[in-house]
Subunit: 191 residues, 2 copies
DNA sequence: ACCTGAACACCGTTCAAGT
DNA sequence: ACCTGAACACCGTTCAAGT
């Protein structure tokens, strides 16, 4: 929602956007692309890139922020259009499919503890999942008090899976397992 | 089980072991420790390290192999000593606790598709989980045909969690969610 | 205010030369 | 048969000098 590029001088904002464009491309091609190479491709000095994005993670967050915000915004929309459990399932699928999310969320989750930028982005996703879970809860489909962040951590495991045909099947199976876990409520967990 | 250092000349085997020792220490302190610094600390040339471990991942696998093998060996032992579901729960806890596993398995899972070393190590863990699941299945506690690799991928998500007190609680909750997902058998997954 | 790009210390990796 | 360590190309990051 917030633009993050509001009070910038015209040339600075242009640079910022160009960096984000180039970075998105570069990361899609090769997730380990160097920041120097991105700066060069964007036609800016290395220092400029570092001024806008002080760390690799900050750049990642910048690149995928829009995508993540869209994904989050989808949650309430799905809740309106579908029965709660169906909405949850559909959102899970979207989460897995969103290609950019792969890198973006992975890093976000990983760094959510330390980096501030990340906490924000993570918070957006957490809220989205919370909304979905709440709807399911209201409908009596799941037990109360399942922390959205737990679901998100669990869901993040599918991001590691390679995007082969086989991998996609596995991702689907894993999504189902998560849904079942949520659905089961108080089950026979033994210690 | 296999030693991996069988047919080596005496000095080579010594070097190999020293590298593994130093690397374990270094990775524990700082997961991104450079390979050059490890070589130096181990008192060997960089080339020697690369001869033994051609990639960072190979070194990680070497470092954590023993630990992973022990964890895997624990599975059948637990099955003999406890009811199946309890054995599963205990093994999950051990998996989460094993500190070295954190780095080792994370990388292993990530690279399991490409690297051969990794496939082997991953296979060992997969077999262990398979054993646990089979016991639960035999006891009629879970549905049949849950792929061990799915459980492992899911379980790997807890490895990202920071080892704070709060984090440990979350890890525990997530383990429970996984167990519930497995237990639920065919549930109300909607599409 | 913002940008450039040379400079620094360090990285992974290779390979000729040694034993 | 194995090891050393200098060398290479590249990395992230900083910062004086420019506009």
């Amino acid at each position: 929602m917030s633009d993050d590029a509001e009070q910038l001088r015209a040339d600075a904002r242009e640079n910022r956007n160009r960096i984000l464009e180039v970075a998105r491309e570069a990361f899609t091609r090769r997730p380990e692309a160097s920041l120097n190479s991105i700066a060069k491709a964007a036609g800016v000095g290395a220092g400029t890139l570092y001024r806008h994005f002080p760390s690799r993670e900050a750049l990642l967050a910048g690149v995928y922020r829009k995508e993540i915000e869209e994904l989050a915004a989808l949650a309430p929309a799905l809740v309106l259009q579908h029965p709660p459990m169906k909405a949850l399932g559909l959102w899970f699928e979207r989460f897995t499919e969103a290609s950019g999310i792969k890198h973006g969320v992975g890093e976000t989750l990983h760094a959510a503890v330390s980096e501030q930028d990340m906490r924000d982005t993570f918070g957006i996703l957490k809220e989205a999942v919370g909304r979905l879970l709440f709807a399911c809860e209201q409908a009596g489909k799941i037990g109360p008090g399942i922390p959205p962040e737990d679901v998100l951590v669990l869901l993040s495991s599918v991001l590691r899976i390679a995007p082969t045909a086989e991998g996609r099947q596995q991702a689907r199976r894993i999504q189902d397992l998560i849904v079942r876990g949520i659905t089961a409520g108080e089950a026979t967990v033994q210690r």
